[in-house]
Symmetry: D2
Subunit: 478 residues, 4 copies
């Protein structure tokens, strides 16, 4: 189907300027927020058109919008100048709306250019900063805060004013996703990205988020995003989704922000079981028999996925897990154990490098060689499985990241939350990805509310990975 | 009725620490947010108890909460240290909750003392600031932003982390209301107040606000706040309220923030009429006959009130009026004129001082004397009324505030929004307040969407008050 | 305030016929549904106008609406003929709407006349009934049902078709309220009333009702109806209401029907206490200290009120109490006792008559005389109080209604529900009504879920009043 | 996936009786209401468990439930006796719940047997009927209504009482679906079915229904039912559904009843176009370009489907179309034409029989033969297409059903609604079904609000099919 160009919401609402809006030749659907909110050319849900008449008239008058016939980026820059300056204050929303519309119509290259202009033009006012700093004497609190104010990049005020537009938050999140895509080739934009991140951290404060259960009574609009953004164990269409959200022993929860009501920010999938699971296959199986959740003893977090590329670096996952633990405890009195079934994404890469670098004992290096030759080799080979377990334990427990903490990213997340590395499971993930990343090894991290603070303190303070004795014993054996 | 002490929400949820919570001896109902949200001892509406068990255990373990037996403020300071430091990160919400609970139980004097500690302890890290500044050379964007980061007072991070707690936003707004009360005697707390204002400006961005019509189908919880916070023409109980929200030719709209769902931030009262009104009495009359709104030509904004003391300096009124204008235009095609009926709060005080200082022409000074002798003197005296009109026009059009703009606060607000001073109305407000502030004079400011940008530019650029020729002519006559 | 005439919703929506709609000269606010739903001239909430254009055109064509210039009732009759006949089927909703509008504009006398016409014209088709009956032979099920169909009064089909109109259900409930008012002088309308009752019993089936808690977050629209319809212990304005719905130890629940979303059908007020109450005063006191509901042992139903005059004879109260018992049990695990504090409305009237008729023992008759001389006589007189208790026990336990069951209406309701007469309370209601009806006596009926079925069986089967031994002992003493 | 047996909601809620509930060996998913409401073993959404304790105790006492160890049907009969009799009134809901649970666990054969018992046992009380009839003299309205009351089959009261149970309405609708399945082999159950139909007609009165737009923001729970119940042009999975509900020029509306909130009763699919469509293919095409709905001139109803087998004979479709016409007119001012694109389901069957019976002119009979040999023959053959048009026009315009009205069921529906047969479209439906039923012919019926009443009167009064002159001319040519 030839999808009709999604009309930018403000433009659609009649806030258009005389210059015709040209669809970007290479527009794609990369930005989840944008295309998700306005599917199929549908207009915004509410109220975006209230600026139409207002803006139309101003635009006709043409007062502050000189230079509109120049290049698009120049227009945008001028509009941003106006918005930040406070000129045109009476119609600030209309200007913000126009900037966001125009921005949305840019090509990726134009966007990158626009970011460059933004970064250069809306940075810190160095004169003002120096003047403020010069007044800083002794330890005067007011003077120090004045330095802070003087040192604020103008881009932050610009972003705050853009956010006033209807749908502004969603569009700024999409804008940052674009920026993050541009970043690898434009490291100079890093400070601008920090401005986004700083504001988003404040706006997406956990206190503003709502936990919602996502089930079969949820809108298709949201459900299709769950399908799209599941990043750990891909969802194979609507039937698979139905099994994950509608079975009596399955739950799926997400955090939402009021300004993005149809956009999950992060979600977690939970299986209620009668034991700590040792493999992902039975959890995802099509033909399994659901459990009566009232009889479940264990809640298994088997997948956590972030949804918004534009919110990278704004962390919600830790809050989500703890909130879900509490909610499940209240709903099901029989639950005693809260545990993950997690991948070990960096195992194989690390092991290969360590073997190549001669950093592994011979038995382990030999095992790596066998597994590289046949990723399934440990399946029926108890000795190899035991060696693989030792290898994994060593990786998870003793290997550190350059910036501290566990080397494995997933381990770092859960250990930082105060979880304990509870158990290794060999042959737990027989998918191509599971084999390819970790020869099928998965891990259970245990969330024991009585211990998470102590665990966290230990891990954060000493760097020591908190793990079950049985896991540590694997290494001692090595 | 002896109202039982409102339990702080987190405490109520079981997140209590061993130290017993003592009700403040002089607790009052000053803070609108707090007592409004938890009326009559009712517990929080949702989800506040999820930290109960978690926190209980941690508290029992007592690990990071050393010093709990010391004074309350010291406890609070220590908890704030912990929260900002990131120690106790795994249980940050529980700590935030405890801080907010403890804070709520302080006396005003204890609160002021706590603010003093906060201000001193969570200020800018001057060493870090100097180090960052020293790296600032040339105009490196990243280095300049690093100064900004280094110059951030720690109080801002503290407030962001407190905001994570359930109900945190409402409680921080209440906390700032306390701070504003303490400010007159503690000017040293001004920088701390700026931290609040800075964050609130970001959090209460217009893009996050929702416009809601408030009518007779609205909850009593919200309606009673309308009664309480109406600051211009006091609402005389529920029957009066009903007339203002439920009559066919009346509207009341407010802005709400998702984190304070039952708290109007600011609201505006509108009368739909068939002419620009010259007096407030007929609008508020008990026995009037409502108009068919479909036939109305004019929307009159006759009262705008802010509700949240803790949000002082975070401006919404301008956005509110413009949004309501747009919404009404869509709903009622017949509306042609959008106008206020506004008080002139500073007229009499200015006139008295000017007369005393000999700055008025004799006729005006004489009129002041007559009016001071009898505030109603102009009622039946056409000549005096004419002189009073001249006096008012002179005050509104030519008198400037020290920091620029019109001297009258209400005039400053509407002129800054791009409205035009349209008409003076003598004898328009016969209430005690109306007489006492302005000998009964009221003003219409006109919101003409075709002109507001131009008006704003003129006013902001030149300082000239934009007004109707008929108003200006009054002065020329003088 | 001169309330503008409430426009009938359909008429307002443009469905009007050429004949001008004249406001009834003696229109009053008697019908709760009508005036409550359209307060202050506000139009209907949703969708009532969809028939406007449709109807306008048909009316212009004037095809089926012959006789429109005759008297109003004749018009209505003709429209009803058309609606029932199925002529005009394509536009049945518009006709139904017009009938309801026209009806609403009638005077009470015109309404009674209209009911008379309805009753005569839309009765049973006797010919058809006889024909169907003649085919009834043996016990053929189909033939018997055919008699049922043939015997259906046409008024039922008329009511069903009127109900199709937007807001039809509310307007039919209001219509029956009118009919019930007319009934005392028009006993011939009783069969028509039965048609209403029959349909309402089906439409207001308990399966269609929703239980809603009513609290301070409920709309003023509903809350003001609670004030208006409280029939047992009058609510003294909004502050009193607030105490009854917003205190931590108070609950108020109502049944609602989806077609009347803002109309409570019946509601019950509950106090959570730590003992079975012996008087109403402390429950309603302004200055009491609320109890922590988590510590409550007892739920007291201290008032049950029906709201819809038009639903007389359609019973909900029994379902309401039982549902609330279940809901409270789930919410508060500590609740052990569910009990009423009920008036004894018929005590004094019965006692006076019995004394006058010589049917009372001398001691009781003497007590009646004393109490008639001074309704408060028992207050400080233990012996008289004891005699009054005996009198009340005798009345409640041994006196039967003509049609069976307890003589006292409130007793009949609770005993029929399976409750037990648990305790008499002398001096329990010191209000004028309480004194006037029962010299201040109130009663606790106990809802013991373990026993209600057995109690009901006993009471329904044998007529014996189920009561506590202590109550029965009072009589034996007599 | 082995779907776990859906627990009946009441039973799940703890209202179970001692007798174990056995899953029916041949339980299938035939009943849409039941399996849709409780997908995947999920329990009922709200409040079903409130009867648990209550019922448990009563059941233990075992008072009225004698004979529980006998056969299941006997149990059910006894419970039904109890429910109707009013014995056990205090616990009527629990009994109703048990009956519905037990019923749900029966096999189809057991259900049919149960219906037989119901029909025989809960029929009309003939003695009472005769007694009432004997009192009928003259034309006494009360006596005639007494006959009606006496003639009511007890099954109706039974159904009303069953409806009181939580979820009762949905379960009764499912029960009738079972009954309709049994009916072909059990014509004696027809009167019982009439009882259901009679009550459902009252309960599903149009006044109780809500129109809802169904779009991509609707729950998957409802959307999957749209996929399942689309009966005209099958929906090919979720992507096809998305095109039909989320494209800017598509709408889908359904009627809902408050007691079945997640169950569409009937729905209609609408395409907004710029001309009256001549074929279904372009409307359903995957790769079409959506139209800007603001520019649409025509609304095309291209599919109407009933969803609830148990509501057969309770008609909503006419109301639905007219309501949607009104709603669309309000939303899109540019719409001028409301038209269907409808199948002609009976054309080929009729033509074949008529040809075989020698009732067709030779040219038509010959065309039938050609078309039977090759269903696509008319595609490129203009002469044959013309003859096929004549054949279709003759079928639609002149052929009558045995019970009157047009012979074609779809024609009968739309003509009865007051629509006009506007145009024949040859080669309009190239699907297997379209070819198989009508050699690809489709029809446009025009809904002209100015004419529908007149059209209806003509059609209903004279039986004449209202059609465009161009259609009639086709026949005259023949």
């Amino acid at each position: 189907m030839t999808t009709r160009k999604t009309e930018p919401p403000c433009e659609a609402a009649g806030a258009g300027l005389p210059t015709p809006l040209v669809a970007p030749p290479d527009a794609d659907a990369r930005s989840p927020v944008q295309d998700a909110r306005f599917p199929f050319g549908a207009s915004m849900r509410a109220g975006s058109d209230f600026l139409g008449d207002l803006f139309g008239r101003i635009a006709d008058a043409g007062k502050f919008l000189t230079g509109l016939n120049e290049t698009r980026e120049a227009d945008l820059t001028g509009l941003c100048d106006t918005l930040v300056s406070g000129r045109g204050e009476a119609t600030g929303l209309a200007i913000a709306c126009t900037i966001l519309d125009r921005y949305a119509a840019l090509t990726p290259a134009q966007k990158a250019a626009f970011f460059g202009v933004l970064s250069a033009r809306f940075g810190v006012d160095l004169e003002a900063l120096r003047a403020a700093y010069d007044k800083l004497q002794g330890g005067d609190a007011a003077a120090a805060r004045a330095v802070h104010v003087a040192a604020e990049p103008k881009s932050q005020e610009l972003l705050r004013r853009l956010n006033r537009a209807p749908g502004g938050t969603a569009r700024l999140v999409a804008m940052r996703a674009d920026l993050l895509e541009a970043l690898p080739e434009r490291p100079d934009l890093k400070p601008l990205d920090e401005d986004f991140r700083h504001l988003f951290t404040s706006w997406f404060n956990r206190g503003f988020l709502h936990l919602r259960r996502i089930d079969w009574g949820t809108s298709a609009l949201i459900l299709e995003k769950i399908i799209r953004f599941e990043a750990v164990h891909a969802i194979q269409g609507w039937d698979d989704l139905r099994r994950r959200v509608a079975a009596s022993d399955r739950r799926l929860y997400g955090f939402f922000h009021p300004a993005l009501p149809d956009e999950p920010l992060v979600f977690v999938e939970v299986a209620l079981t009668d034991q700590v699971p040792a493999a992902i296959g039975p959890i995802l199986a099509e033909d399994r028999t659901p459990l009566d959740p009232a009889g479940a003893s264990t809640a298994v977090f088997y997948s956590i996925s972030n949804c918004q590329a534009g919110l990278r670096g704004v962390s919600f996952g830790s809050f989500l897990i703890k909130q879900v633990v509490e909610d499940l405890r209240r709903e099901f009195a029989g639950l005693r154990t809260f545990v993950t079934l997690s991948p070990v994404p960096g195992l194989r890469a690390w092991a290969g490098a360590a073997a190549a670098g001669g950093q592994l004992p011979d038995t382990l290096a030999a095992a790596v060689a066998v597994l590289e030759a046949d990723q399934t080799a440990a399946d029926g080979d108890a000795a190899l499985a035991q060696t693989l377990a030792e290898l994994a334990a060593r990786y998870l427990v003793t290997e550190k990241a350059a910036r501290g903490g566990a080397r494995d990213a997933v381990a770092r997340f859960h250990l930082g939350n105060g979880a304990r590395l509870e158990r290794l499971n060999i042959g737990a993930d027989k998918s191509a990805r599971g084999r390819g990343n970790a020869w099928g090894v998965m891990v259970n991290y245990l969330y024991d509310l009585d211990a998470i603070e102590r665990n966290h303190e230990t891990y954060a303070g000493t760097g020591e990975v908190v793990c079950a004795r049985s896991v540590r014993r694997l290494i001692k054996a090595g």
